[in-house]
């Protein structure tokens, strides 16, 4: 069987998640490789979420939010964008090609764009192949998630 990449998509509730719903309502067909996680705003996304996804077996990560100027919370998407720039530089140090991570602005009316982006990502990840070594390297990082779970985690 050929390699089927696993993509984790962090989508903001107001634009990208709605666009994904629209793709569904419009019955657009796109690869099933993406697993969508809803956040209220891309501004909520911590870089560790992206690393966690790679560590947990994802081959690619998509962060998708509102277009600049279209954020439901005014500017959360700008904040997400700025964090992305840093993350893009960080990923290769874990042995993760920065192409495996993608940030997209997808308006709630852009169901087609969402489907297209997923298709493009799948195509690209198939060329890059499975992400194996990186998971090990991230896991080896001392207490990255141990700290997160015991430290910043809460509510249990």
């Amino acid at each position: 069987m050929s390699f089927e990449p696993k993509i984790i998509g962090f989508l903001c509730n107001w634009c990208a998640y709605t666009a994904a719903d629209l793709a569904g309502i419009s019955r657009l067909k796109y690869p099933d490789n993406i697993r969508i996680i809803r956040v209220m705003c891309t501004g909520r996304i911590e870089p560790s979420f992206v690393l966690k996804a790679f560590a947990s077996g994802a081959d690619g990560v998509l962060v998708a939010g509102c277009h600049p100027g279209g954020c439901h919370y005014q500017e959360g998407n700008y904040k997400a964008y700025k964090r992305t720039l840093l993350l893009k530089k960080l990923l290769p140090q874990f042995g993760i090609a920065s192409e495996r991570f993608r940030l997209e602005f997808i308006a709630s009316s852009e169901g087609e764009k969402f489907a297209r982006v997923v298709g493009e990502m799948v195509g690209q990840l198939k060329i890059l192949g499975p992400l194996q070594t990186a998971a090990v390297r991230i896991a080896e990082l001392d207490g990255l998630f141990g700290e997160a779970e015991g430290g910043t985690g809460g509510g249990r």
Partner: protein, 1114 residues
Amino acid sequence: MPEIRTGVYVCHCGSNISEKVDVAAVVDFAAKLTGVAVSRDYKYMCSEPGQELIKKDIRELGINRVVVASCSPRMHEPTFRRALNAAGLNGYLLEMANIREQVSWVTLNPAQATQKAKALISGAVRKVRSNQPLEEKYVEVNPNVLVVGGGIAGLEAALKIANSGNQVYLVEREPSVGGNMAKFDKTFPTLDCAACILTPKMVEAGQHEKVKMFTYSEVAGVDGYIGNFKVKVRKKARYVDLNKCTACGDCEKVCPVNTADAFNEGLSERKAIYKLFAQAVPNVYQIEKKDKPPCRVACPAGVNVQGYLALTREGKYREALALVRENMPIPAVCGRVCFHPCEAECRRGELDEPVSINAVKRFLADYENKQGQPPVVNPQAKSGKRVAVIGSGPAGLAAAFYLNKAGHEVVVFEAKPEAGGLLRYGIPEYRLPKDVLKRELDYITDSGVKLRTNTRLGRDFSINDLKKQGYDAVFLAVGAGKEQNLGLEGEELSGVMSGLSFLEAANSRQKLDVNSDKVLVIGGGNAAVDAARTAKRLGAGSVEVIYRRTRNEMPAFAEEVAEAEREGISFRFLTAPLKITGKAGRVTSVECQQMELGEPDESGRRQPIPVPNAKFTLAADYVLVAIGQRVDPLFGGSKYVDIETNSNGTVKTNQYYLTNVLGVFAGGDMVTGPARMVDAVAAGKEASRMIDAYLRGETMPEREQPAKGQKEPLTGKKYYEVLRHRSPHLAVDKRGWRDEVVAALSEQDVMAEARRCLDCGVCSECFECVPACHAQAINHQAQDEYVDLEVGSIILATGFENLDPAVGVQWGYRRFPNVLTGLQFERLSNASGPTGGKLLTEDGREPEAVAILHCIGSRDKNYQEYCSRVCCMASLKFAHLVKEKIKAKVYEFYIDMRAYGKQYEEFYNRVQDEGVNFIRGKGAEVLEKSGRLVVRAEDTLLGAFREVPVDMVILNSALIPRRDAGAVAHLFSIQRSRDGFFLESHPKLEPIKTATDGIYLAGTCQGPKDIPDTVAQAAGAAAEALEKITAGRVKVSPITAYNIAERCSGCKTCIAMCPYKAISFDEERKVAIYNEALCKGCGTCVASCPSGAARMRNYETDQMLEIIEGVCAV
């Protein structure tokens, strides 16, 4: 902590989910996940029995966490939360897995769909374990409602709410409510007159005690959230007091400015002061002002060019000249010698050639002279202050005139025997006759200014003397009248003189013996050309001007150079003098150097550089040196005057024209160095304002800032198609020493020039309307005002606009006059329209055949893909109106006929019976053939191309979002659908709500619709708002951020992140304080917190990591 017992419920959604997802396999999978106590499926989880399943398990099996795998949480999350609550479990202990929109509907392969569904459920099950019960939050609802847009939708919504007794603020951008519907003639299919059904609503809204209208206003800012919005409204300056205007129309009668009437879709013209339409609500006038026209901006003196052109056009010469004199006290001089920077900027030049502005000014001044006495200047009440003006050039004259007008006693001191400065002694008489100058001087002295000639500062008196004589202020304006030297050998020889002294001698009528001699003029400025032409007139044998650069770099006016050449003067370019040689103390020749142009210098002109070994000698009996002027250096160093100067001799002043000596001001060339006459007048006028303030002990006024240029595209107005009139010139052989070369334009030509003005600034600020208004309602200085409103709900009813059919050249719009838009036809057919309801072509004929083209830009992938819904019916209405009014043949070019509403099909049948020709095929092209319009189309029923000759074409173009819909969406934080219209919350079930709570949509801003649908949606929007008002409070999400103060390091990172100012800083404890009432739950602060103190309810970091692990695990 009690054991986690999760119930998983997988929905079939009929077959929507189960046709792709193996529900049984998913249920089995879920049952084995950690913490899952029960896993079930049901046909419709959202149905009553489905919900009952969950409730029963909560009650009987002790389920304390719920995962529903079904449709999007955006659809049914509230439904299932309610179910949990009903069974006594907190609704926030729920997670949903979206296995319909994001799985079954988008995946082809059932096995993969099932796998994906399992992954999403796995994530949800892991996350829900640590979900916490959250308390619902409520906020109070302010019962006031904001309605944006005063068309039929906004009016309807506003009246519904107002009639319930709640306060409505109605904001309308245009000067009147009514919107697009107010332009319509009849409405389909009942053929009600649009005005008859709309205007009662307009009036009712205008008079309703619960409706506060803000017309000619826009929403400038929106803050807050449902129940508690804070809105800033910008009330655009109307320049007419709404409360005083009686709509009598007296102002309109005197307004000289015509502009395209946008309400009549450009089919007619209106005045700059206007009422939008006859039934306007509020029934008042306003003035349309655009940015200042570029002519007025370009004029250093700020002369209101558009204003005097407009008045001239009306034959109000006296008023026009008075307007000129407000900024230019010497219009007859200016009309002759100004080199009119206004004309270079005139926007008429974008079409053909600029208006001959200066010639109009000259005509006005000369006309007054011919008529006799100029008007008497009535200075303001005497201030009792005395001002001495030193120098009677343009700067001094302007300052003196305006200071006298302001009520001060002004004495002008002039060193020379006669007043006028360079106007008299520098400019030759053939350009500026002495009697013209005398007229101007007389006007100024008649107004009260006293003149003392032959009195030189530094020789006959000092500034201290003036102070002793009781002058309260001094204005220095002695100019820059000293000619620069060449600094070459031989300059002292007899026969070498400065151009300026030569001109002065000529202008003083001194005898100059240049008969038959060879005169060489050195320089490239106006003084050089003036000297050359004067020498020629005095009988010089030959006159040659030598200039070190080329014609392109010459500072002299091109027109003057051309005239000089016509008079026989030759120009030798790229020639620089090296040495003047002579015999017996008298000049004989000039040694010259050939030059070439090198790199541009700081002035942007290319520098002349010598060509090696290229020297030659020119014979000369006279050499006139005119290479530029400067301020007399003796002046600065004079022991009589203790004024600070710069190294080049110009006087130092501050922004108020004040020198280092208190009470002594300076302006004009002596401050700026040599400049234009109009610059000097501008300086004199500006300085007079400063001196006036100084004398009155008032704060010094700010110096006038250059207005910003006008960049709006020229649109709409049909312009007067006549080419520029040139002033006649005296024949070369008739040009005597004192004969004015350039003659005035005839009155007829001046009138034509005034009509050529495009009125690009719209209101010309001629101020004729001010005295015409007996109610004293007009204030040209009015400013925009801002009003702050607090409302609980907002209804957007901002409407549509029509696609400009000119985007497709094939349809001929704006190329052929009788190709109209649908709205233009509405105006044409409307009894209150430009033709009083007569259907006429542009040249006033009744059309014999009319074509109506459907789907212009609609259902067209090149423009708008969607159907605009109303055009078929509107087209049928147009056909009916044509048939009703005239005997023309009517052709409808349609793709499909869409008559879907109540009584619509019946109307279609009726119009067919009226004899309208229906051609099934889109109008592809509109051509002009032998004087008629021809519509080309493929008749898809006949299978043939057709060309139909007609006299009028109506293009029914697409309804599109307003051009600023994007900005408005951003302002209100709502989204737009792909077509650009505002996006509703759900296309079927929530067509009125937006994604932003408390903001609702009504009418065509949400998508194309007809009037009945618009009215229905408006009533729906009113109901949405009233629902919140009646409830008095609304639920807001409890998913908010909070922080653990013990962990907070006080770094304040989160404070900058929060767009809602929900985080403050406790200076005592040095920790951030989170106000959850203000938090909207974006979580940006949480992601930014470096110490893990910031948290988000049910979106905790470890929960997010759980869900990531969960979805990745499958």
